[in-house]
């Protein structure tokens, strides 16, 4: 099925970016720029939904699972048997992604028109934002691994540009660079993984990096392309064992790809860039660093589920890393005081859940959580943006409090987000998180069978911590005393704001050194005379004037409707978004699990405990020594791979038409545990922080376990110093140039060295020639030197 609407989905935002870049920079008309940017994304969203849901568009989501909607544009790179197309495809997985990315993206674009109002780089901001949408959709809709990598690096670039959006702030520049470099470390793995996939498929006789089977018709002539995933899906499942990582088989490919995922999706050990990325404007944090880009790693793992499901060792690693990241980041998040930092660590933690799901083979649950998370985390970030906006660019929660009076809409919306992420029953986060925890407990994947119970405990503890830190965030922000009155003024940050207002430019969060988690002055500490400074100058927002006359410039205020409307829409989605994936055990079949039914046919299923053992031994032997052997050579009749592959259309998933009563009651029990855990977490957080909103958190947590410092001391500094002193000053300038300069001075010494050469017919000739050559060069060099001297005189 070919459909050029797909190109519109992808290229509309690019057109918007170009228009804004070329025209917007001249007109500087915010209405026009905002209209172009939002319009481009709206067109994209409309096209995406058309393709996904209407027969006219191809019905990627509702039609036959085996026939994705394809659009082949041109052959990008073709050398030898390697071929990478510039072509897009929407199947059920990318369809879900494309829909929520464009829709949430649209809401955030609208929000940003209000949030960035008055910013000098308005056109630039929206050009970058649109460019990001282009890259993200390229990533999602690419029909092969290499084009996906284009989007993969492209979103990294946009992230770089947007984190560093406030170019005159050093922190922003550092954070942007860090994000790009850390992502590149991950990309290293992706590139190698792609090559290994090609290697494996070409040894199986069908060289390909394509996700889908493509016939000659879809690629416009020539030979068709066989899906690499189907080829690998037909191979035997590899044995479980650490040596498989280095064996150069499917496991190695999966691990390499996962390295990329840890970079892009901020998992241990490459998560360090994401919290710093909060230096970017808040809509960017919502769009890129919460809802869409950071879930690209999950997308890739699920997209390549055929590969991962054949690599139990890799799945095991994914599960462990995911769980570890989830609990680690949650424990850091509980001690942060910057409202955006809390949400950043929360994002890292939630991404950990998604990888935990992937690791236990619950790929569908991972995508489900990606979607619900996109709703409620975008909501929370935009809500925090609204708070920051209303607080005149204060991000430190210790200087907030009692805001619910002043910002009722924001408060209501964020309350929904808070309950959703905490797992409050019937909200979206509840269903997806519960699904992941249940799948973790009940997994029978190789390697994780016994560990599943342990990982479930980790997940449950993380759920408690999540509820606690989110409650803390809400309490510190919206309840309690109005601390912004006590701690107002005196801080240099506030003065800087005032000056910026006077200058008629409107700074945003993080555009000034006030951002971040370094308090300029302790909460409650002595502060100058409040109120008299910063008698607001030219006002950026019209509705600001009257209020400020009454209360002074820090009076919090509700945000304009461009910002609150997206909040309300996202809040609505955060409530109902989970209803498409209600498990059988809870609904009793009354509501079909639409989500699972849609995705099940296009993702592979994880291997079960018994499946891999049959060929485990042979695979082990193979893996230990000769990595040269293509795994397909060992076609083993012992076990049929569990993958249903890309091409096969699945029927109704097993989980729905085989309701084992014992299983169901157990699942219900675990749901109850989840609910209890969520409520306990919220309750603990409430009692704890309602009483003491400024409770001092352990230093170790507040300082993020000193991971950044450790990385700096163990990696960054040694490499810098080693390169400067060792490689450059000592080796390059000292040793090599020393030798060269020495040679220039003493050719005689060279001559004497040559005597030590072994005598021999050719060699003595060579020696003579070398000496002769050096003599001639010496002569010419002398001549040339004099010539230049003469000219320069």
């Amino acid at each position: 099925m070919t459909n050029h609407l797909l190109s519109i989905v992808v290229f509309a935002p690019l057109a918007g970016a170009l228009i804004n870049w070329l025209v917007g920079r001249r007109t500087r008309n915010e209405t026009l720029i905002g209209f172009v940017a939002c319009g481009a994304v709206a067109v994209s969203a409309l096209a995406a939904f058309t393709i996904a849901f209407t027969g006219w568009g191809g019905a990627a989501l509702t039609g036959d699972a085996a026939t994705p909607v394809m659009s082949h544009l041109w052959t990008w790179i073709q050398v030898g048997s390697f071929r990478a197309d510039f072509g897009f495809a929407m199947d059920r997985l990318s369809g879900i992604y494309a829909c929520f990315v464009t829709f949430v993206g649209l809401l955030i674009h609208v929000f940003a028109t209000g949030y960035m109002h008055g910013d000098k780089g308005f056109y630039r901001f929206f050009a970058y934002l649109n460019l990001f949408m282009f890259m993200m959709l390229t990533l999602v809709l690419a029909d092969n691994l290499l084009l996906m990598f284009v989007g993969w690096e492209g979103v990294g670039l946009c992230s770089y540009l947007l984190i560093g959006y406030y170019t005159d702030r050093k922190e922003a520049g550092d954070a942007a660079k860090k994000a790009f470099v850390v992502n590149r470390i991950g990309d290293w793995g992706v590139v190698l993984g792609i090559m290994l996939v090609f290697f494996l498929t070409s040894h199986a006789g069908a060289p390909s990096i394509s996700f889908f089977d493509k016939t000659a018709a879809t690629v416009g002539g020539g030979d068709g392309v066989k899906s690499a995933l189907a080829t690998i899906g037909a191979m035997p499942i590899e044995a479980f064992g650490w040596q498989m990582i280095f064996a150069g088989g499917i496991t190695s490919a999966a691990v390499l790809l996962f390295i990329g995922a840890t970079g892009k999706s901020a998992q241990i050990p490459l998560y360090v860039w994401l919290p710093d990325a909060m230096a970017g404007p808040t809509p960017v944090s919502a769009l890129i660093h919460a809802a869409t880009m950071v879930t690209a790693g999950v997308y890739m793992v699920v997209r390549c589920s055929a590969i991962f499901s054949h690599a139990p060792t890799a799945l095991f690693i994914v599960a462990i890393i995911g769980a570890a990241t989830a609990i680690f980041a949650a424990s850091v998040g509980i001690a942060q005081n910057d409202i955006k930092k809390v949400l950043a660590y929360s994002t890292v933690s939630q991404l950990g859940y998604m990888f935990l799901a992937c690791g236990v083979g619950a790929f569908v649950a991972a995508i489900f959580h990606v979607m619900t998370h996109a709703f409620f985390k975008a909501l929370l970030f935009l809500g925090s943006g609204s708070v920051i906006h209303g607080m005149h660019h204060e991000q430190d929660m210790r200087r907030m409090g009692g805001l619910r009076k002043y910002m009722p809409v924001t408060f209501a919306a964020m309350t929904v987000g808070w309950l959703a992420i905490s797992g409050f029953p019937l909200l979206s986060g509840f269903f997806s998180k519960d699904e992941i925890l249940w799948k973790t407990w009940s997994t029978e994947s190789v390697g994780t069978a016994g560990v599943g119970k342990f990982l479930w405990v980790v997940g449950i503890v993380t759920a408690v911590i999540t509820a606690i830190y989110m409650t803390r965030l809400m309490v510190m922000t919206f309840w309690g005393g109005e601390r912004f009155r006590e701690t107002r003024a005196g801080g240099e940050a506030d003065e800087a704001h005032a000056h910026a207002y006077d200058a008629g430019t409107k700074p945003h969060d993080a555009s000034l050194p006030s951002a971040g988690d370094r308090p300029r002055h302790e909460p409650g500490g002595s502060v100058g005379a409040p109120g008299h400074d910063a008698a607001a100058g030219p006002h950026a927002l019209e509705d600001e004037d009257e209020e400020e006359e009454h209360h002074g410039p820090v009076e919090p205020r509700e945000s304009p409707s461009t910002m609150t409307v997206p909040l309300v829409v996202l809040a609505f989605l955060s409530v109902v978004g989970g209803w498409v994936g209600i498990p059988y055990a809870l609904s009793g079949g009354a509501v079909p699990n639409y989500f699972e039914r849609t995705l099940e046919p296009v993702v592979a299923r994880a291997p079960e405990a018994g499946a891999a053992n049959a060929q485990g031994e042979s695979a082990l032997q193979r893996g230990a020594g000769a990595s040269a052997q293509p795994p397909a050579a060992h076609g083993n009749e012992g076990a049929v791979p569990q993958s249903v592959g890309e091409g096969e259309a699945g029927g109704v998933p097993a989980s729905e038409h085989a309701p084992d009563p014992a299983e169901i009651s157990r699942e219900r029990l675990f749901t109850i545990i989840s609910v209890v855990v969520a409520l306990v977490g919220i309750g603990v957080g409430w009692l704890w922080f309602q009483r003491k909103p400024l409770y001092e958190m352990p230093r170790l947590l507040e300082n993020k376990y000193y991971v950044d410092e450790i990385y700096d001391a163990a990696l960054v500094e040694p490499i810098k110093t080693g390169s400067r002193e060792g490689l450059w000053r000592f080796f390059d300038v000292g040793v090599i140039d020393g030798i060269v300069n020495g040679m220039g001075r003493g050719m005689r010494e060279i001559g004497s060295l040559l005597r030590f050469l072994q005598p021999g017919f050719v060699r003595s000739y060579a020696a003579i020639i070398l000496i002769g050559a050096l003599a001639v060069v010496g002569y010419f060099a002398y001549f040339a030197y004099n010539a230049v001297l003469v000219i320069n005189r």
Binding site: V79, T167, D168, V181, F198, F199, F780
Partner: protein, 529 residues
């Protein structure tokens, strides 16, 4: 007409140089006239060189060179005036004819003394560089190879920076040592074959691979390879490059990085691979190791340079390491990628040097510490600088990525191990490990480039002198535009390039891997089974 096209291409710039010289003796001559004459001739050369694209796609198929001209030259020694292009040299000629007018335009206001000599040198150099890439006679090749050295020596020594003398002499000695060894090799080949003609020697070797004894071939390979490795430059023969690049005037750096370095890799491909295939195979592990060291080493040293131009220079060591790595993978992917990366490097690094030259012209400093916050006074410059840097670090959809990816891809798929002997002991070099190491070069590239961008472009304006810098003018935009357009085009649609070079690359590859069915290292692969 066809057969004279290459001669015309070689002569056009030379005639231009003559015209510049003659104009200098005219009484109404002005310093500003020379640049127009030079620009005119180099632009004309570029236009004429586009005619080369008229040759059929799949250029060089079946061992044929196109636009061949073969005249007896020095009959007593069997030297021919033999020219021709195939799919490899075609692109390098076009790269040359493109970069010369661009760099002449970049010198418009930067060169303020001895303009006549400067523009004449540029044109002479263009003649020589084109000659290098189209010569099919070893003596002729050598002549052009050396002829390109002289004008570059003067460009650095006369119009260079503060340490120009040191840099120029160093450049001269390094290159001359190499090329004299090559001369010895060429003479030795003449002894063996009685001719300097590349095609004849090649035919003789194809007819009888044992015409050269292994020992002769070994030393001949080394002689050629040494000359070319210096030119590339391959670690550890690279130390002339940072000095020469840094001290040369902008135009010199562009030509040096854009074209001269490619003579080395071109020479390896054309002569070492085709004439001494067995030695090329035997030496592959050495070159692969040196290339990987160069990739990482060049990047790490680039990272800590306090001088922008020197940083770009060291980045060249890293990029050219990729080219060598790709060539010695002996796969179609790697070798195609290597050729493509030569072009990419010429475009991207050329553009980087142009951009650095633009701020040098404004501030007369190259120290990173003297800049900072340039995106405020020069937003357009900042945009283009970031764009070019991204192309250089291999961002997908820009040119650098295609080349680097193909090179890594080719190395990865070489076939597991390079097998080599030291004495009687066999050593294995796992190409996967090699690729993994080489791929870290992409990470380092991001580190040094972005760090440099941050310190030069972003942050607050710390130096008062930078506050009022003028943004790019139309001439500067104009000379960058073709390169920027190429970066996008070559990144998004590399097919026209790869298609035209495929047959020629395949031919060289067939020579190197001759007799080996499953790739070069099947012996090693079998052993590992």
């Amino acid at each position: 007409m066809q057969q004279y096209l290459l001669t015309i291409l070689i002569l056009l710039p030379a005639v231009g140089a003559l015209a510049v010289g003659l104009h200098g003796s005219a009484p109404y001559a002005r310093a500003q006239h020379y640049r127009w004459i030079a620009l005119g001739f180099s632009a004309l050369t570029f236009a004429v060189s586009l005619l080369l694209l008229g040759a059929p796609v799949g250029l060089g198929a079946g061992g044929t060179f196109h636009f061949v001209q073969d005249l007896p030259w020095v009959e007593s020694v069997g030297a021919h005036y033999h020219l021709g292009v195939d799919g490899i040299s075609l692109w390098l000629v076009l790269l040359t004819t493109l970069l010369v007018p661009v760099s002449i335009l970049s010198s418009w206001t930067a060169i303020e003394k001895r303009e006549l000599a400067f523009y004449a040198s540029m044109l002479v150099m263009e003649s020589a560089m084109i000659g290098v890439f189209v010569s099919l006679d070893l003596l002729l090749f050598y002549l052009f190879f050396e002829a390109s050295l002289v004008p570059m020596f003067f460009l650095i020594g006369v119009w260079g920076g503060d340490r120009k003398l040191y840099a120029a002499i160093k450049f001269f000695i390094y290159t001359a040592v190499g090329s004299l060894l090559m001369l010895a090799g060429i003479i030795a080949l003449w002894y063996a074959f009685g001719t300097f003609d590349y095609a004849q020697i090649l035919a003789a070797l194809q007819a009888d691979p044992h015409r050269l004894t292994a020992e002769w071939a070994f030393w001949l390979f080394l002689a050629f390879a040494f000359a070319f490795s210096i030119k590339i430059p391959l670690f550890p023969l690279h130390t002339w490059l940072p000095d020469a690049h840094t001290e040369a005037p902008t135009a010199g750096s562009v030509i040096l990085a854009g074209v001269l370095l490619k003579m080395g890799t071109y020479g390896l491909l054309r002569f070492n691979f085709a004439l001494f295939p067995e030695q090329a195979r035997n030496f592959a592990p050495l070159f692969v190791v040196l290339a990987v060291i160069g990739i990482i080493y060049g990047a790490l040293v680039a990272m800590v340079q306090p001088d922008v131009k020197r940083l770009v220079a060291y980045s060249s060591v890293s990029h050219m390491g990729f080219v060598v790595l790709g060539m010695f993978s002996f796969t179609e992917w790697g070798m195609q990628g290597a050729l493509y990366q030569m072009l990419n490097h010429g475009v991207s690094t050329g553009a980087l040097f142009l951009l650095v030259g633009m701020i040098y012209e404004r501030r007369h400093t190259r120290q990173i510490a003297d800049f900072g916050g340039l995106s405020k006074p020069m937003p357009l410059f900042a945009t283009l600088f970031v764009f070019t840097a991204l192309s250089s670090v291999g961002l997908p959809l820009l040119n650098g990525f295609v080349g680097e990816f193909l090179i890594m891809f080719g190395t990865w798929n070489t076939g597991f191990v390079y097998l080599f002997w030291v004495g009687e002991r066999a050593f294995h070099l796992n190409t996967w490990v090699v690729t993994m190491l080489a791929a870290t070069g992409v990470i380092w590239a991001a580190v040094y480039m972005l760090w440099m961008l941050q310190r030069v472009l972003f942050g607050r304006v710390t130096n008062e002198k930078n506050r009022r810098l003028a943004d790019l003018n139309w001439r500067e935009i104009g000379l960058l535009l073709p390169l920027l357009a190429l970066m996008v085009f070559m990144g998004a649609y590399p097919r026209p390039f790869l298609e035209r070079s495929r047959a020629s690359i395949e031919q060289v590859r067939a020579r190197v891997v001759a007799g080996e069915t499953q790739g070069v290292f099947s012996a090693a692969a079998q052993e590992s089974k």
